[in-house]
Assembly symmetry: C2
Homo-oligomer: 237 residues x 2
């Protein structure tokens, strides 16, 4: 993997066909630069982050697909108006993928209010459903060889396609967590692809909020830094 | 938990008996402030971070406890000079705790070179062993009621005692990941305590490296930010 650790993504990515073009004010800027340009990333996904959805409301957003409502109600067996991690795992497995439980917990952590118990209501469920639908579309578009797996180059292109120019060193660091330990080249199934995508998108969007002048860097207080990062950690038990 | 979400930790902590005293230049600074004052945190722990230990060396550091060497050799069954995650889990279970495998993977990610396969050599093993010994000492010192569990106040005091004044909102965000989903007050066993401690210590130390003037805030490029954070994420599969 070490030949992978140079800056070729950086230089390539400046010219990648899928890269969003830079506005004039960035054209002389080699920064992490166009991480913040784009076809706007999945909106429901975006709105789901950071407790903007309240799990205290039990009503679905207007225009929610009836299948989504039916699925939620089917797994909300005690009619409590919210479902737990295992119920969410079952609810998503038929429509999307049999996500492992820690991916499910990661989704819940990103979409629910952190002060609420580890359960989600209709709004979060609809947001997660829409978000996964969008990631599936991206996965299928960039899995060019139809292998059902995304390789590192396809992942880079996929992230680039939704507006995130991620340096090769950063991608390598992230992908190093998805290997089988052998050091062999990593290929991501949909499960890991969604995790990587949401980590990159979520952290980048949080950084953008602080990089108000779009310089590619931001001044953060210790509290801000910690509060930005911790939502992306999962508990390991 | 919401009464927990105000700033009382912040204000309390400024006067907590276990708080390291502020040097003069900080005495008018209400910042996230004394996250970077000390008793210096566990040194072996510190040196373990960010690939400073090479898994390519198979020799133990001078003065390594013979028990540590014996334990490593016992579990390096193929005599390869390195052990994998399951072997590490077994090697640590007798001396410390039967850590769950994702905690073990987290330890490995923090101590090994990210470009290396998911295995650790003698140096990393000795560093992890020392690090866990230090965390166990801290756990026992702050588990004042000898419950075998650390509650949020004891965790705050423990982190304070090793020099990290963590805002209540940040601690709450972190602890929200360790609940059983019921929203009840969280208590941490040694396993989760080590995770929380290493997350806080590791992220804070990374932030300190960028906060060279010790102002409580730091300017980060996008690449720096992402590279600081990703080592603390685990893969969810």
């Amino acid at each position: 993997m070490s030949s992978w650790n140079n800056n070729r993504y950086h230089s390539e990515s400046s010219y990648a066909p899928s890269a969003p073009s830079l506005p004039d004010q960035y054209s002389n800027n080699n920064a992490p630069s166009n991480y913040h340009h784009a076809p706007p990333p999945p909106s429901n996904h975006g709105t789901g982050y950071y407790g903007q959805l309240s799990s205290s409301s039990y009503s679905f957003p207007q225009g929610t697909n009836p299948d989504v409502i039916r699925t939620f109600q089917m797994f909300d067996r005690d009619q409590s108006g919210s479902i737990d991690d295992k119920e969410l795992q079952q609810a998503l497995s038929s429509a999307f993928h049999n996500f492992n439980i820690s991916t499910i917990r990661f989704l819940i952590f990103l979409f629910k209010d952190p002060r609420e118990p580890l359960r989600i209501g209709p709004k979060e469920f609809a947001a997660i459903w829409n978000c996964l639908g969008q990631w599936r579309g991206i996965f299928e578009r960039y899995d060019k060889d139809r292998s059902g797996k995304i390789d590192p180059l396809e992942l880079r292109d996929a992230l680039y396609g939704i507006g995130y120019a991620v340096p090769g060193s950063v991608l390598q660091l992230l992908l190093s967590k998805y290997g089988d330990g052998s050091g062999r080249r990593v290929e991501l199934g949909f499960d890991s692809f969604v995790e990587c995508g949401m980590i990159i998108k979520g952290l980048t969007e949080k950084f953008k909020e602080k990089d108000t002048r779009r310089t590619g860097s931001a001044k953060l207080s210790y509290d801000e830094f910690m509060s930005m990062v911790i939502p992306f950690l999962v508990s390991y038990d």
